[in-house]
């Protein structure tokens, strides 16, 4: 269980990126976080990853307060951030340096197969396409089998087709290992297709404006009417949160 207990984050320059964030994420749940630019989504993930400290409140994983990067929490950034001097295989095994060699090789092989890149094990990052590089980044974060995986707009730089394929890869990984997923996204369709729950955030100061449960069975058909309706609900909640902030009607698309 991931608990966020009235977490505040005020940056040294005075920006209140998060104020009183409360959240409970169950084990194995997939939570999507949407919201306009600058509402503190990345800040929240950085706190949960232990890369930054909350100014007040705390974040706990199974009772233990997170104060620094934790082996049970993995994070995937918007860019793949692969190390260019390591091959795909070595990148994926980067977090496994302390494991015995045989185990490391097995874990790397397993997760590379899951993302469909077993033939690329010996390639350099420069030889990969954007989507492949992001798959390697997902594999690297998942190789040590973290309990919680945080994803910060991991697919936003990719075309719709590649993105859809990566959703399938991510879901297949989720079925295999059942990690808790917290996915920040700007894409309502992505949120509706993947998540059990969608959190809509609102800026100044950053907080949760609405929570939408997505009670749809998997596998979901991204072109089906249910997803269509869910997208509309999320968009509507986003629109409302933005309107509340600026005090005027805004097209939600303008904020995304």
């Amino acid at each position: 269980m991931l608990y966020v207990e009235s977490a505040d984050k005020t940056y040294p320059n005075g920006t209140r990126a998060l104020a009183g964030l409360n959240l409970e994420v169950e084990e194995g749940e997939i939570v999507a976080v949407v919201g306009g630019s600058g509402c503190g989504k990345s800040t929240f993930l950085r706190l949960a990853a232990g890369l930054d400290q909350p100014t007040r409140g705390r974040i706990r994983l199974d009772g233990e307060t997170i104060t620094r990067p934790n082996p049970l929490v993995g994070i995937i950034f918007q860019e793949p951030r692969l190390l260019p001097w390591l091959t795909v295989e070595q990148n994926v095994g980067f977090g496994l340096a302390d494991r015995p060699r045989a185990e490391r090789e097995r874990l790397v092989r397993e997760v590379l197969e899951r993302v469909g890149l077993q033939n690329y094990a010996h390639c350099w990052p420069r030889e990969l396409s954007g989507g492949q590089a992001q798959r390697v980044a997902i594999a690297r974060a998942l190789a040590p089998h973290p309990k919680v995986l945080l994803l910060d707009e991991p697919f936003s730089a990719l075309d719709a087709f590649t993105r859809a394929s990566l959703h399938e890869h991510l879901l297949s990984l989720w079925h295999a290992f059942r990690p808790t997923l917290v996915l920040v996204t700007h894409d309502v369709e992505e949120a509706s297709v993947l998540a059990d729950r969608v959190l809509v955030m609102q800026p100044n100061p950053g907080r949760i404006a609405a929570t939408i449960d997505v009670d749809l069975a998997r596998p979901r058909d991204r072109y089906g009417t249910e997803i269509e309706a869910m997208k509309r609900r999320v968009l509507w909640a986003l629109d409302k949160s933005l309107r509340r902030e600026s005090g005027e009607a805004l097209s939600p698309a303008a904020a995304i």
Binding site: P69, R81, L83, N119, P125, E168
Partner: protein, 286 residues
């Protein structure tokens, strides 16, 4: 088959092709390297042959600019008497010692300045000031301090090598991407692990460039050092050739400098190449 599955299969087909296609690409690259090598050789070869023919045909005199055959003859006779090797040995020893000192000092000071802001703010302004002094200006001082023998020469070469290496190391450390370092933090690397697994590989390409620049300056300064009085060394051959009016000896020494400079630079490049194959821009030099 859904659209996504179809897409994935397309991806697989592409995968196997990419893997099998790696070899021809490498072959093509080395062929291109050979082609470039021959193209680069064409101009000096053509000029040399042209000059040789011109002198032999009597169109030119060739006293101040001897034809290639005379230069080779001079080189050959210097080599068989063993004189050439003594000069090469003396010069190489000076460059080697000066370069080694410059590399050690430049790397340590650069790393120190890169590692902490306080030491950078203390060191960098003074070093930048010293850097703007033309290094030859140190010669009189070094001679006073260290005498006219080997020590002052090596000190001059070391100073020449120091600055590009110091600057290269400092700039390389400062330009390491914060985002890459964060990857290390996510995987909970300790500071020594962070240095070994992220910082060192990240600065290596720039470090190799700095070493090559430093060595280039080392070769430049060894000539200056040997001009200030030496009884052996390629710089001495130059001066000696001038004083005795032997242009063939001067050009023979210049050719030797060019060859040695190219070889030592190639040694740095090729010994670092196995560690840099990952680089996007790196083209193998075989």
């Amino acid at each position: 088959m859904t659209a996504i599955e179809r897409f994935d299969n397309l991806g697989e087909a592409r995968d196997s092709r990419i893997v099998s296609a790696t070899h021809p690409i490498i072959e093509k690259k080395s062929k291109r390297t050979a082609e470039r090598f021959l193209l680069g050789l064409a101009l000096p070869l053509l000029l040399g042959i042209g000059w040789e023919l011109a002198v032999r045909a009597g169109w030119a005199e060739g006293r101040l600019m001897p034809p290639p055959s005379r230069i080779f003859l001079t080189l050959y006779s210097l080599a068989v008497t063993g004189e050439l090797w003594i000069h090469i040995g003396a010069t190489l020893a000076r460059v080697g010692a000066g370069f080694a000192l410059g590399v050690i000092a430049g790397t340590l000071v650069g790393a120190l300045a890169g590692a902490s802001r306080l030491s950078r703010e203390i060191l960098d302004p003074s070093l930048q000031g010293l850097r703007s002094v033309p290094s030859i200006a140190w010669v009189p001082l070094f001679i006073l301090w260290l005498g006219i023998f080997e020590e002052s020469k090596i000190a001059l070469i070391a100073v020449g090598c120091f600055f590009p290496i110091y600057l290269g190391v400092l700039a390389a450390i400062q330009s390491v991407d914060r985002k890459t370092v964060e990857v290390g933090r996510v995987f909970r690397l300790t500071t020594p692990q962070l240095v070994r697994r992220i910082l060192l590989p990240a600065i290596l390409p720039a470090y190799v460039v700095a070493l090559r620049q430093g060595l280039g300056l080392g070769w430049m300064f060894v000539v200056a050092a040997e001009f200030m009085g030496a009884s052996e060394g390629l710089g001495y051959l130059l001066i000696d050739g001038q004083q005795l009016g032997k242009p063939d000896q001067i050009i023979a020494a210049i050719v030797t400098f060019a060859i040695l400079g190219k070889i030592t630079d190639g040694l740095i490049a090729s010994s670092s190449a196995p560690f840099l194959t990952w680089q996007d821009a790196y083209a193998p030099k075989h």
